[in-house]
């Protein structure tokens, strides 16, 4: 029966599919919008699959929790409660400090420091590509996650959202070869571009030789790239390589975030001084203050 029909495929169909594939590849490379939409639509299916195959892991973990030692759990609970109280206490201080900073900034250049909105998301899987540092999280488009949103963990910057679909989102880690961000070098105030290498470290090249940096210095986001809000810790300098002939140094840095054991991450959905508010923010610093004096005065009065 079926074996004796040739079912030899037509060349026309092959050629059409080949041309369509090549067109799709070039449009994707260029970054056409509707290709992105196709990617997002189909990605909802694949992210759903990733989410589904992650379910057994969740189940095993919750069963394991059932059998966990009771005393251990209570110890954990106490520890977390203490930590929570501590953090809340520090938070109070932070709120008053923020108010002070806002007042001072309003006097200086009229820039307000909003606290960004963050969203807790669980890591559900990673795509099977050996060289790309990508992973999938269980929150998506419905939770206001957009491509380009910064992703952080408790220690520092993790990466950025690459694609957001109905069932999840893909995050690119800052150590990926395709990722780059702008950082402030320690206390020197100088900014540099920090590039992922595909390995576990980051590289900042072409830093002028006289920049005062030491191994162990913390690199924080500068906010210039409009992708990350200012001031998040990114990495620590582990090595400084000099290139005497060129007059530049090259910094090797290790990310502060624990990228090897990510379980939960925070997505900054509304970056205050990056992303959406930036175009107006850039104008504000030059011409007019961003914070209207009335509200600022009200806030100050509220503080007193």
């Amino acid at each position: 029966m079926a074996l004796f029909d040739t079912h030899r495929p037509g060349f026309n169909r092959l050629l059409v599919l080949v041309v369509v594939s090549i067109a799709l590849m070039s449009l994707d490379r260029v970054g056409t919008r509707w290709v992105g939409q196709v990617d997002q639509g189909l990605g909802s299916v694949t992210d759903g699959i990733i989410e589904t195959i992650h379910q057994p892991v969740v189940m095993v973990r919750s069963i394991g929790r059932w059998f966990g030692d009771r005393n251990e759990l209570h110890g954990e609970l106490d520890r977390l409660r203490e930590e929570n109280t501590l953090l809340r206490g520090q938070m109070q201080q932070f709120v008053s400090l923020k108010r002070e900073v806002d007042e001072l900034r309003a006097l200086l250049d009229g820039e307000a420091s909003d606290v960004p909105a963050v969203l807790l998301a669980r890591r559900v899987g990673h795509p099977p590509t050996p060289n790309d540092h990508l992973f999938t999280i269980g929150r998506g488009f419905g939770d206001d996650i957009r491509p380009g949103d910064p992703v952080i963990d408790a220690q520092g910057v993790v990466g950025q959202v690459l694609r957001s679909t109905a069932t999840g989102a893909t995050v690119i880690e800052l150590t990926s070869r395709d990722h780059m961000l702008s950082v402030v070098l320690g206390e020197s105030g100088r900014t540099a571009l920090l590039r992922g290498t595909g390995a576990d470290h980051l590289v900042a090249e072409r830093i002028p030789e006289r920049t005062k940096v030491r191994p162990g210095d913390l690199l924080t986001t500068s906010g210039i790239d409009e992708a990350f809000p200012r001031g998040y810790p990114v990495a620590r300098i582990s090595k400084i390589e000099t290139d005497e002939a060129q007059g530049f140094i090259r910094l090797i840095a290790e990310p502060v975030a624990d990228l090897s054991r990510l379980d939960y991450v925070l997505v900054v959905t509304a970056p205050p001084d990056g992303g959406t508010s930036t175009p107006s923010g850039a104008a504000e610093t030059i011409d007019r203050p961003a914070v209207p004096p009335a509200t600022d005065a009200a806030e100050a009065a509220d503080g007193d």
Partner: protein, 157 residues
Amino acid sequence: MATSWFSILFTSLAALALVLMPLPEGVQVHNPQWLLLVVIFWSLYRPAQAGLLYAWVAGLMLDVATNGLLGLNALMFTLTAFLVLSLRQRLGVAPLLSQALLVAGFSLLYLMASLWVEGVATDLASMAAYLSRALSNLAAWPVIYFLLSRLARLAER
């Protein structure tokens, strides 16, 4: 006919899930290309239902799932399916071992082409690790063959 469509769709999704399963880094490289094997199987044994378009869609789904260049795997899947469909009458009656060897050969071509396009591995060791997936495909083909032919027979009963 309807059951056959269903089984093709179901097995393709299951294969995609197997490909996407999170594995430790060392094992990930040796995970067989389940989706490719399933596409090859259906092109061999149900060519009326699973043609070039099916292979193209499967490849596109893989592209989307892995965040790769959109259309790359789709192109490769189509070309592989074309190769398999043209050799179908010889390949369909071949003994399992030579079938598996040929399938591994196809996937080796596939891997070399994608290696060339992506340019991911430059040194010989990582190139060899990348191409060694063809060996795991060789091992996985009998599994796919037995499971899917059993399923196809069940679905058509």
